[in-house]
């Protein structure tokens, strides 16, 4: 084998040489650049940041108020009912008699007892605050991530760019996201949600892209051979066939969102994370453990629920 000399190789070589020289001779103020960009955004795009902030805040508040609308002992049966419905979604769709639901009630029982335990520990309001944060963050992350994933699956260029960006997002320590979030949105729930969205979005994008790209070539040919428009192809073939993988991405997204809302309490996001943080600061092991247990309960219920949805 021999290497053919192409103009593009020359160009790449030149780039490497120049970049090496620059790195050796000049200390690049990369941190300064980023600061400059952030400053520019704060000054020039303030109106946009305010709008986003307002929108997210009202979303979280409305979820929180509706979750706390009923007293805990009323709300627990309602939430358990929702769990029963979702975990039996396939049976309900098949119009099975309600008696059959009794067969897989274990998750519903777990949810009921778990929620009761949370109420018992006096962490109800905080848990609902965390749940509201997770729901809003996951909705935003999915609302951006799934469409981006679909686009990435259908456009190779975008896919290449996205891959670099996602690698970057996933390897960057999650605490780093807290800094710009604070600068742009101050302290409180909103910057917490922003950091959570950035942290939770990658699996939604990746698994959507993966699911669509994995579809056998013949199935795509079917849609073309029968004259489907690109939209018909997406709705009738790509999304339904990729659905199990996309649902796995949604499950991952929700789980990551839950874990990040705890970290986000460092910048003032409320809920159970704040309780954990207080536990750390006061070296109160009991308080930290109780809050941690509540998070575990919520995590298990959310995880099983979304996995259930994925398998139907």
């Amino acid at each position: 084998m021999y290497l053919k000399l192409k103009p593009s190789y020359l160009l790449k070589g030149l780039f490497v040489v120049v970049f090496t020289i620059v790195l050796l001779l000049w200390e690049i103020p990369l941190g300064g650049f980023v600061e400059g960009i952030v400053d520019w955004i704060v000054i020039n795009l303030g109106w946009l940041l305010d709008g986003i902030s307002y929108l997210l805040e009202s979303l979280v508040d409305s979820f929180k108020t509706s979750l706390l609308f009923l007293p805990a002992l009323w709300m627990i049966p309602v939430l358990t009912g929702i769990v029963v419905v979702i975990s039996n979604a396939s049976l309900i769709r098949a119009r099975a008699p309600p008696a059959e639901y009794l067969q897989n009630l274990s998750l519903s029982v777990l949810a009921f007892l778990g929620l009761l335990l949370i109420q018992n520990m006096g962490l109800w309001e905080m848990s609902m605050a965390t749940l509201a944060l997770v729901i809003v963050a996951a909705l935003v992350a999915l609302g951006i991530g799934v469409p981006l994933g679909i686009l990435g699956a259908n456009h190779d260029r975008l896919h290449a760019v996205l891959r670099v960006l996602l690698d970057f997002m996933q390897t960057m320590p999650s605490f780093v996201y807290l800094i710009p979030a604070v600068i742009f949105f101050g302290l409180g729930d909103v910057p917490g949600i922003i950091a959570t969205v950035i942290f939770a979005m990658p699996p939604a994008i990746r698994l959507t892209t993966l699911g669509i790209r994995q579809i056998p070539k013949e199935l795509i040919e079917v849609s073309e051979a029968f004259g489907a428009t690109p939209t018909q192809k997406l709705i009738k073939i790509q999304l339904p066939v990729a659905l199990p993988t996309i649902m796995a991405g949604i499950n991952q997204c929700i789980m990551l969102a839950l874990s990040m809302t705890v970290i986000a309490s460092m910048i003032g996001a409320g809920g159970l994370g704040y309780q954990v943080l207080t536990g750390i600061q006061m070296v109160d092991i009991g308080m930290g453990f109780e809050a941690g247990l509540a998070i575990v309960i919520i995590a298990i219920v959310l995880d099983r629920l979304t996995q259930n949805l994925a398998s139907t």
Binding site: P216, E218, L219, E221, V222, S223, E224, A225, F226, G227, A228, T229, Q232, K236, I237, P240, V241, L243
Partner: protein
Amino acid sequence: MIVFCTFVLNPYRIFSIHSIWNVFLTELLSFLRVILMDENEDHIKKIKIDHLIKVFGPKSLRIIPLLKKGLSKDEIFEKTEHIVALNDVSFEVCEGEIFVIMGLSGCGKSTLLRCINRIVEPTAGIVSVGDVNVTGLNPDELREIRRHKIGMVFQNFALLPHRNVRENVAFGLEVQGMATDERLEKAEKTLQLVGLDYYGDSMPDQLSGGMKQRVGLARALASGAEILLMDEAFSALDPMIRRDLQDELVDINEKLNRTIIFVTHDLDEALKLGDHIALMNEGEVVQIGTPEEILTNPKNEFVERFVADVDVSKVLTANEVMKKPEPLLPITAGPHVALRLMKEYGISSIFVAARNRRLMGLVVVDDALEAVRSHKTLEEILIKDLPSFRVDTPVSEIIPMIADSRYPCAVVNEEGRIEGIIVRGSVLAALGRSGVDVFEA
């Protein structure tokens, strides 16, 4: 009339009487030709492929001049890393015929098929369907043609896994924009046509391969397409089911009179189905003709090698003449069960198999009756010394054995599992089908 007009109006007539006579003769000839060709009028050309070229690679258009210069596929790949999949392919397909494109894998036959509905975009050349130039259509017009004129059946069935059979068949109609009730009703009718009346509610993964491909066929038929493109449609099926489906395809097409382009690598399939066969090699059509012409008058060495062994009983193997191994008697059963099964299937002997369908022997009806009377076990009446064959044993070796043997023969694989059963009748039938003189063999 024409003759008269030419005679009167032809400007040459003033020059000499000789040239007038010439003109008259040529006109007469062409007139006669029209009359004689008239009987071919019902063979309307449905699909026309004209000097089609397909090159894979980023700068495919630049390769065409190289092809015109006469460079070979390998030379072009060496120089430019472009792959020439189709090189100057031309043929015509008549309405209502089954046109088979045959060749070894990688010869470009699937690419050629996909060029017809432009799932693969041809680099140069013209594809016409009816009087429409497909290669010149814009995306919207192309979509309309694909929806209403051209259906496709795929090698690996390509059924949508999340839809039941009826919805799968209705897919083409759904894409056309037909209302739900109407399209499901039409899908049901098409399912009846392919013999799957009661399977509308099944999911694709509940069906066997043969049934899946019936669904694939129904899907292509349901949209009302005049042209069916079938890409190795039966290649993934086992031989017996494949034969059934081939017969059925011919039957269905006698009813519906669609134009079918069928891609296969299997010569037997091509000979059985094709009204015309195009034999391809290395992206070029080597020979086009009826099966008879291909067999009797191979154009060059390649075709000759391709068809070399056909038409002799040596080519037919046990695979082609065996039937399903049914019924099989479990070794654990007794003589009573054996009798019952023989009665049910109307046979006088039955194969006995251990678990995993491993061949143990044969029981004949007389022995079984005797066993029932004298309380013998199955083991004692088992005939173990049986001739057995592999699936690739040529029929020519089977015929003498089966002629001497009183019992049917079993076809087994390496581990001794029963793959099929051969009885005298099925050998004779298979030979009859392929036109071999049985007595000579």
